[in-house]
C-alpha cells in the first residue's frame, strides 16, 4: 500500500515542473484516490490520461488549482508527508554519502592527477599537503567519480541518485585534483593549540584581507613570532623538539584556511631550521629571544630591505616617456613605480586588472594619489592596453626552477601579449621578485599545481568588501586605509550588491545542470616571455633562478 504511493508520487513531482498547469490537479486527484481506491493507483501514476478521464468530477476540483496546491501539504498530512519524510531521510543519507564520496574523491583526484600529468606529477610534489595521502589505489575511486558527469546529461530528470550526482559535478574535470578540502569557514573545530593570532590570521588569509605572497609571508611570520613569544616548553621536552610540532599545528590550521604560498613555505622552512638548531642547553627565554630576532631579521632581510633594493634597481629600468603595463596589484611593482616617480621620471602606467579580486584598483588608487598618470582597464582590454606599452612590470607569486613565473591568473596572458605583439616590436617583460619566492619546484603547466578559490566569488557582481573596502570603484574614491570608518558604507551597500548578485544569471549555478564555474588563482608564464627577473641579489635572466635559489638557500 505504501509502496505504490512512494512510487507514484516522486515521479509525478519530478515531472511536475516541466508539465503544464493542469498536471498538479492530477497529482492531487490520485492522492485523494489512493485513499479511496488503492488499486487504481499504479495505473494513474503511469498513465495520467485515464486518471483525467476517470475523475470527471476531479476536473472541477482542478480549477481552483492554487487553492488545492497547498491542500496536500495540509490535508494529506498523514499520507503524502510520509514520502516527504522519506525523502528527507534519503536526502540526509545522500548528504552523508556525498561527503564521504567527496573525501574519497579528494584523495582519488590526487591519484588521477599523478596519472594525468606523469611528468609534472613525478617531478614535484603537489602543493596541498593532503596530497600525501594519495595512494595508488585511491585513483580508482577518483575515476569512479568521473563517469557520473558524463552520464548525468541524458538521464538528468529522474531519481534522487541522479540528482545527487549532478550536484557533485561542480568541479572542473581537468582541475579535479585541486579541489581539496573546502576552505575553512569558521574557526570552529580548530585545535586548542592554535594561537589566537594565528586563528585571526587564518580568517584574514581566507578572506583575502591579507593577500599577496609577501604580505602573507610577513603576516605569517609575525603571527608565529607571537606564538613563539607566548610559548612555554612543557615538562619533559626540549624547546627545539616541541616547538616544531607546536608550530606545525598552527601551520596546518593556516593551510586549511588557504593553501600556503611558496613564500610562506620557504619562511616556515627557514624558521623550523632555526628552531631545530637551537642548542637544547640554552635557557628558554634566551632561545625564544633568538627565534624572535631570527624572525625579525628574516622579514627585514628577505622582504623589507629586499623590496627596497628591488624597487631601486627596477626603477632604473624606467625611463622618461615609458608606458608601463602591469597586471593586478603587486606590492613590489607599486614600490618600484613610486620609487621611479620620486626620482622624477615621467612615465605613464597602464594597470590591467581582472575579476574577481580586482587587486589593481588598490594599486591604481595608490599610484594616482602619488601623482602618476594611470590608466586602468580589465584584462579583456589587454590588446588595446598593450598597444602603446614600452615595458611590462610583473609581480610574482613564485619563480620556479625552470625560470617560469607563477603568478596571479592572467599574468601569462599579459606577458604573452607583450612578447607576441602583432607589430613585431617586443616589449621587455620584467618580473620583480624576492628570492624568498624562489622554489626548487618545476612548473610545466598551470594545471598540476594551482589553487582553486571558491567559485561563488565569480558569481557576485561586486568585489569582496575586504579587498578594496569599496563596493564599486566608479561611485567613490575613499581612502582605503580607514576601513573602520567606511565600515558603515558597506553595511548599506551590501543590499545593492546582493541585489545585483541575486539578479546575476549565475546565482543558481550550483543547481543549473551542465554548468561548472572555475575560479583558478594562478597561472604559469613560460620563461621565454620573461626578459629579466629583478631580485635583491641582482638582475637575472629567468634561467638563473635555480642557481640563485641554490645559493640563497645554502647560505
Amino acid at each position: 500500500m505504501a509502496d505504490p504511493v512512494d512510487l507514484a508520487l516522486p515521479s509525478s513531482s519530478a515531472t511536475a515542473p516541466a508539465q503544464p498547469l493542469p498536471k498538479p490537479a492530477t497529482e492531487n486527484t490520485p492522492s485523494q484516490q489512493t485513499q479511496n481506491l488503492p488499486i487504481r493507483d499504479s495505473k494513474t501514476a503511469k498513465t495520467p490520461a485515464p486518471s483525467d478521464k476517470q475523475s470527471g468530477k476531479a476536473k472541477d476540483v482542478s480549477k481552483p488549482a492554487p487553492a488545492s496546491a497547498d491542500a496536500p501539504g495540509a490535508t494529506g498530512a498523514d499520507k503524502p508527508l510520509t514520502p516527504a519524510e522519506l525523502k528527507k531521510k534519503a536526502k540526509a543519507e545522500k548528504a552523508a554519502r556525498r561527503a564521504k564520496e567527496k573525501l574519497d574523491r579528494e584523495q582519488g583526484g590526487a591519484g588521477t592527477a599523478g596519472g594525468l600529468a606523469p611528468g609534472g606529477g613525478q617531478s614535484r610534489p603537489p602543493t596541498a599537503p593532503k596530497k600525501d595521502a594519495a595512494g595508488g589505489g585511491a585513483s580508482q575511486k577518483g575515476q569512479k567519480a568521473v563517469p557520473p558527469r558524463r552520464g548525468s546529461g541524458p538521464t538528468g530528470q529522474t531519481g534522487a541518485v541522479e540528482h545527487k550526482k549532478k550536484k557533485e559535478d561542480k568541479s572542473v574535470a581537468v582541475f579535479g585534483h585541486l579541489y581539496g578540502q573546502q576552505r575553512r569557514t569558521t574557526i570552529a573545530g580548530a585545535g586548542k593549540e592554535v594561537h589566537p593570532a594565528v586563528l585571526a590570521l587564518g580568517l584574514q588569509l581566507r578572506d583575502y584581507v591579507v593577500c599577496g605572497s609577501s604580505a602573507r609571508c610577513v603576516a605569517t611570520l609575525l603571527a608565529f613570532k607571537r606564538v613563539v613569544e607566548s610559548y612555554t616548553t612543557p615538562m619533559g621536552t626540549s624547546l627545539a623538539r616541541h616547538l616544531t610540532t607546536h608550530l606545525s599545528h598552527q601551520i596546518t590550521y593556516l593551510s586549511t584556511c588557504r593553501p600556503l604560498s611558496i613564500s610562506q613555505g620557504n619562511a616556515i622552512r627557514a624558521l623550523k631550521l632555526s628552531i631545530a638548531s637551537v642548542d637544547p642547553s640554552t635557557p628558554e627565554s634566551a632561545a625564544k629571544a633568538t627565534l624572535c630576532d631570527f624572525i625579525d631579521n628574516f622579514i627585514r632581510e628577505k622582504i623589507t630591505v629586499a623590496d627596497q633594493v628591488i624597487a631601486g634597481s627596477a626603477a632604473q629600468k624606467v625611463q622618461d616617456g615609458d608606458v608601463i603595463v602591469t597586471f593586478a596589484g603587486s606590492s613590489i611593482v607599486k614600490q618600484t613605480l613610486l620609487t621611479a616617480h620620486k626620482q622624477g621620471k615621467r612615465f605613464r602606467v597602464s594597470i590591467i586588472d581582472s575579476r574577481p579580486l580586482f587587486e589593481g584598483k588598490k594599486l591604481a588608487r595608490a599610484l594616482a594619489n602619488a601623482g602618476l598618470d594611470v590608466q586602468y582597464s580589465l584584462v579583456h582590454g589587454i590588446s588595446h592596453a598593450i598597444k602603446d606599452a614600452t615595458k611590462v612590470f610583473l609581480g610574482a607569486h613564485a619563480m620556479t626552477s625552470n625560470g617560469r613565473l607563477y603568478s596571479r591568473v592572467g599574468t601569462a596572458l599579459v606577458a604573452m601579449s607583450a612578447k607576441e605583439r602583432a607589430g613585431g616590436v617586443e616589449v621587455p617583460v620584467i618580473v620583480c621578485c624576492e628570492t624568498v619566492k624562489f622554489t626548487d619546484r618545476v612548473a610545466l603547466d598551470s594545471i598540476v599545481v594551482n589553487e582553486i578559490a571558491d567559485a561563488d566569488e565569480l558569481v557576485s557582481a561586486a568585489p569582496p568588501q575586504q579587498v578594496t573596502g569599496l563596493t564599486d570603484p566608479v561611485t567613490t574614491t575613499k581612502p582605503a586605509d580607514n576601513k573602520k570608518g567606511t565600515s558603515s558604507a558597506p553595511t548599506t551597500d551590501p543590499s545593492d550588491s546582493s541585489l545585483t548578485a541575486s539578479s546575476s544569471p549565475l546565482t543558481n549555478w550550483k543547481d543549473t545542470p551542465n554548468l561548472q564555474l572555475l575560479n583558478i588563482m594562478y597561472d604559469v608564464t613560460p620563461a621565454e616571455y620573461v626578459d629579466m627577473v629583478v631580485t635583491e641579489m641582482g638582475s637575472l635572466p629567468p634561467s638563473a633562478v635555480s642557481i640563485v635559489h641554490r645559493m640563497s638557500t645554502n647560505m
Binding site: 641582482g538 637575472l540 635572466p541 634561467s543 642557481i547
Partner: protein, 352 residues
Amino acid sequence: MATTTERTAAASSKSFDIVATYNELLRSDPDLTMPIAAIEALVLVLTHSPSSTISETLDLLEKSTAHLKKSIPNPIGLSAGTDLFQRYLITTLQRPGQLGPAGDFKAIRTHLLSNGRLFIRRAKESREKIAAFGRGFIRDGCTVLTNGGSRAVASLLQKAADEEGGPSAVRFRVIYVLSSISKNIEEPSGEPEGMETVRTLRAKGVPVSTIPESAVAYALGKADMVIVGAEGVVENGGIVSRMGTYQIGLLAKAIGKPFYVVAESHKFVRLYPLGQYDLPIEQRVVEFRSEDDIAEQGKQESSVDANGDKPIELPLSDSVDFTPPHLISALITDSGVLTPSAVSEELIKIWF
C-alpha cells in the same frame, strides 16, 4: 708603462690623472683590453696614492672609478674591469688573517698591488686559453665568417692556422666582414679595422675573403659558422659589441648558422640591457635632421666634413650594439665554452 709612471711621477704634486693613464695604457699596448687597462690604471692610482687605511683606499678607488667612467665615452668595457677589481679588493680585505682588516695595512697594500699585477698578467694570458678552447670549433674545410678587430678572434684564428700545420695544410677559410667606417677619424680613407688580421692570416696561408657589411646576408650561405668578438658580455648572456654584430647575429639566426662569441671572462659586465637603446652610453647613431638642421649646424660649425654626423659622446666608428642572448649559440671564454644562460651563473659566482 714606464713612460706613464714617469709622467705621473712628474705630475704627482697634483692629483694622479687616471683618465690620461688609461688612454696612454691603451695606446701603448695594442694587446691590452679595456677592462685590463682600467685595472692597471687603478693599480697605478693605488701605487701613487698615499692612502693608509682600508676605507681611504676603497674611497679613492670608488672616486677614480667614477671619474674614469665619466670621462670615457663608452665605459661598458672598462666597467667590467673596475667592478672586478673593486670586488677583488673587498673580498681580499674581508678575508680573515694577516691580510684581513686586523692586519698591517702596509702588508695588505703591497699584497693587493702585487696580486693586481698578477691578475693583469693572467688576464693577458687568457687569450691563449680561449684559443685552446675554441680551436676545436674550427674544423677541416669549414668557412668562418667574422667581423671587427677583435684580438681574441684574431688569436683564435691564428692559433687554428698554426695548428693545422702552416701554409701547406690550411684547411679552413675566412670571410672577413670589413666595416665601411674607418677606425681612424683623422684619416677617413685609412684602412678599415681588421686588415692587419687579414694580412696575418693570408701570410699563414689561410684564404681570406673580405666583404663589406652589406654583403653579409649574401655571403652567409657560404659560411659554416660566425665567430665574433665582444666588448662586454652582459648578465643575460648577450653581448655588447661593435656596431653591426647584431645584424650578423640576426642573419645567422635566420639562415641557421651557429653564432659563437669569443670573449675573455674579465669582460663579463654587471649590466642588464633590455634592448638596443637600454645601454648606459650616449650614442647618436640614428639622428633625424632636415635640411634646416643641417644648415644650422653648418653655421655653427664652420667646417662640415664628409662624415657629417660626428657625435661628441662617441664617434660612429666606436659605436656599439647589443646582441641578445637568443641569437648566440655559445660563448667561448677562458673559463670554458658557455651557453648564454651560464654567463649569469659565472657572474653570480664572482659576485656572491
